[in-house]
């Protein structure tokens, strides 16, 4: 054996030398050089006189591709338009898109790779990735716009969440049912939720709501690979729940709704915004979903009657005719818009350095997304969601697959809810 080992040194050496040569570069220079940001604006990594580079760390080949692809395209759409209008702070914005395929290891390397050359992250997707990068992001004071809505991360001042959080979505959604008399005090609510940040954050909301209204929550936690909800729904039925809250992926929403109906449970189903996908309307469960499901989220459906919303929809279909219309489009556009506002603020402060941008982020408020997000966004209070209103929408055969109920909805319970509390 030993000989073979000695010998394979050779190949190993070759490989490494190759890497070494490939790696040859001006190490450690690009990073800390605060390049002269034109005028008297303080620059930083990824900022030059003519451009601002932003990172997009997302999942275009993994399980979240369905959400991430239109989202990223919407990011790109916004900046294409904005650059045409002259960009921001006299600079064109350039997106560096990296696809981590939901693999933390890959994401960390990609982050390392880009971190020296970007002013901030226009988009960061995937809760395990976010969790893994959290310490690094903090020490780099890297402004990161999340493509997720967990209130648990609000305490980090460099993390920006566009729209309200899962728990508040759920509170609002349930409160809506209560208001409509679909559930009443003392009822039991079944909650079907994913293992992980997303699910548990949603659960937090339903529990809070239940506590406030003398209701109780019947928990059914599942893994992303669960697709047959028979057992879970049976448990709900046995417990006699009056409504089902869903914090999962579309697959599980369809399965749960279908089985519930087949079991003769005609109870309302309220789901967080990621639980819905227009594709569900092609599935056998479509009828039930249309009848019983309510989607609670702060992102506008394509058919929200606001000019900006329609505009974004039209522009997107024009730009990406191959992509299906999904709510992620409106969000991606709004997400980019928020970044724009922050950069603008940084420009006003004459500081586009990373620290400067984090500071700027918490000076902006009253960002009007023209209805893309249910309410104007306010980032001045660290640890608080940028807004607490949502749209309630019902699945329907319209473009984007959701028909919003008129107006937005912000319940008293949601207002009084303290995100930090547990």
């Amino acid at each position: 054996m030993s000989r073979s080992l000695k010998a394979s040194y050779g190949m190993l050496a070759v490989a490494l030398i190759a890497i070494a040569l490939a790696a040859c570069g001006s190490k450690g220079t690009s990073g800390d050089s605060s390049s002269p940001g034109g005028g008297s604006v303080k620059g930083g990594p990824g900022v030059t006189a003519s451009t601002i580079k932003l990172g997009v760390l997302t999942d275009l080949s993994g399980v979240f591709a369905p959400l991430a692809k239109p989202l990223t395209q919407a990011n790109q759409l916004f900046w294409k338009q904005q650059n045409a209008k002259g960009g921001v702070c006299g600079r064109k914005v350039q997106l560096i898109v990296k696809d981590h395929g939901y693999d933390p290891q890959k994401a960390v390397v990609q982050y390392r790779d880009m971190s020296q050359n970007v002013a901030g992250l226009q988009q960061l997707l995937g809760s395990p990735i976010t969790a893994a990068l959290l310490p690094t992001l903090k020490s780099d004071s890297m402004l990161s716009l999340l493509s997720a809505w967990p209130s648990s991360l609000l305490s980090n001042d460099n993390i920006i969440i566009v729209g309200t959080t899962y728990d508040i979505e759920m509170i609002n959604g349930l409160d809506y049912l209560l208001g409509k008399g679909l559930i009443k005090k003392g009822d039991k609510i079944g909650h079907l939720y994913f293992e992980g940040e997303y699910g548990e954050n949603g659960l937090k909301g339903s529990k809070y709501f239940a506590g406030k209204n003398g209701m109780s929550v019947v928990e059914q936690k599942i893994k992303a690979t669960d697709t047959d909800m028979t057992g879970q729904v049976a448990a709900f039925k046995r417990a006699g729940v009056k409504a089902i809250a869903v914090t999962t992926a579309p697959t599980q929403l369809a399965s749960a709704a279908g089985i519930a109906a087949s079991q003769g449970m005609t109870v309302p189903i309220v789901g967080n915004n990621p639980t819905y996908d227009p594709a569900l309307l092609k599935t056998p469960a479509a009828k039930v979903i249309k009848a019983n499901a309510y989607i609670a989220g702060s992102i506008a459906a394509w058919t929200v009657a606001k000019p900006e919303v329609k505009q974004v929809g039209d522009d997107f279909t024009a730009a990406y005719p191959k992509s299906d219309p999904k709510a992620a489009v409106q969000f991606g556009y709004a997400q980019a818009k928020v970044m724009y506002e922050i950069l603008n603020q940084g420009c006003k402060n004459k500081d586009l350095s990373r620290a400067g941008l984090v500071k700027a982020a918490h000076q902006v408020s009253g960002i009007d997304t023209g209805g893309l997000i249910a309410a104007p966004l306010d980032y001045t209070k660290v640890g608080q969601p940028s807004e607490r209103a949502i749209y309630i929408a019902k699945p329907a055969d319209v473009i984007g697959g959701l028909r919003p109920l008129p107006g937005t909805f912000e319940s008293a319970t949601a207002k009084s809810y303290n995100v930090a509390g547990s």
Binding site: L5, Y9, L16, P104, V109, P128, T136
Partner: protein, 370 residues
């Protein structure tokens, strides 16, 4: 072996060491980070090689023991005064002890598995061990107190005699290049990999190693020559678990924070692929395999711009990630069929040595032929 060959090996060896030691001088963060993951993989792969290649036992549970090592370290070293929101508990040991402790824990759990590891052989063990990965991840998600659940938990920076393997204290600059956490961990990694290889080589050339190889080649011969086969099978499993544990510790350090998703079934498969590509039975082969398997997708991603047929991420057409996975699968198929001795075998060819048929891939010959 001939002087010529010995010379080549020597030169290659020296060149290799030199390059590795000098690399942090000009390697960008991307390369260092990739390197760190590759080192962690290498340690784990060597461990799996001892089990699969040397003892002829298949295991798909490697990811589980890597997780044990990673979380074990975070638990033993961590637990300091947490910054507010519920921080998972920890033993607050000095990192060195934590590292050793984590490896021992991994070994112990491997030992607990011995009732199965000792009795099952070959493919059955492989299939049984899949279970550990899924059960392990379930625990990682649910034992919040220790693992931090889905949030994962931070890995205490390693330090040795007060010298911290993190970005600061003390600040360090070598030839004008600032040596931060990545650079420092690079050298720690090199040391650990060297240690792993050294131990594995000693083992395979010594009494226990011979016993393991005989268990692989002829279980009964081993038994009648006095080798307690179940015990040695279990022992091999324990040792490879400890390697996985060490790999986990270093992985945690390379990540800075561990999350359950990093330790799925796919990781187990990656390790298996590493030793297959590297060549079953060969220690250095395992290291080479680890390097290839870890670096390949990263390089694809890094150079996706300049690759033919591959579009930039987000565009329509072949994504770099998919391209990497295609290549990955195809490479394994090709190696198995055309170079059953993997990279090690090929390199042997390069250095002009007659390859000896690798027994470990050729377990039971009374195979039905189709």
């Amino acid at each position: 072996m001939s002087d010529r060959r010995r010379l080549i090996a020597r030169v290659a060896m020296i060149a290799l060491v030199a390059v590795l030691l000098w690399l942090p001088q000009y390697a960008e963060a991307f390369w260092l980070q990739t390197g760190l993951f590759a080192m962690s993989a290498a340690i784990g792969a060597v461990g799996l090689q001892l089990l699969v290649g040397v003892t002829g036992q298949l295991s798909l549970a490697h990811a589980f023991f890597v997780a044990v090592g990673a979380y074990g370290y975070c638990f033993l070293a961590g637990g300091g005064p947490g910054g507010g929101v519920e921080v998972p508990s920890g033993a607050q040991l000095p990192p060195v002890l934590a590292m050793i402790g984590a490896v021992l824990i991994a070994g112990a759990l491997g030992g607990l598995f011995s009732p199965i590891a000792g009795r099952l052989s070959g493919i059955y063990l492989g299939l049984a061990s899949i279970g550990l990965v899924f059960i392990g991840q379930h625990v990682l998600f649910n034992a919040k107190g220790v693992t931090g659940g889905f949030n994962g938990r931070d890995a205490e920076p390693f330090n040795l005699f007060g010298f911290s393997f993190s970005n600061s204290h003390p600040d360090l600059t070598v030839f004008g290049v600032p040596y931060g956490g990545l650079e420092r961990l690079w050298y720690l990694g090199l040391a650990l990999v060297a240690l792993s290889i050294w131990y594995a080589r000693n083992l395979t050339r010594s009494r226990p190693g011979r016993a393991l190889q005989t268990v692989r080649d002829s279980e009964i011969a081993a038994a009648v020559m006095g080798v307690n086969v179940p015990v040695y099978r279990a022992a091999a499993f324990v040792v490879s678990s400890m390697y996985a544990g060490l790999a986990g510790v270093f992985l945690a350090l390379a990540f800075g924070r561990v999350v359950p998703e990093s330790f799925g079934f796919l990781l187990s498969i990656d390790f298996l692929v590493m030793i297959v590509i590297g060549g079953l039975g060969s220690i250095r082969g395992a290291v080479a395999g680890a390097l290839v398997v870890t670096a390949l997708p990263q390089l694809f991603d890094h150079y996706s711009g300049s690759l033919p047929f591959v579009t930039a991420p987000g565009g329509d057409g072949l994504q770099p990630a998919d391209a990497a996975r295609f290549l990955y699968g195809a490479a394994v198929v090709a190696v198995l069929i055309f170079a059953p001795q993997g990279l090690a075998g090929l390199s042997r060819g390069l250095v002009g040595r007659r390859a000896v048929p690798d027994q470990s891939v050729r377990t039971d010959t009374k195979e039905s032929t189709a």
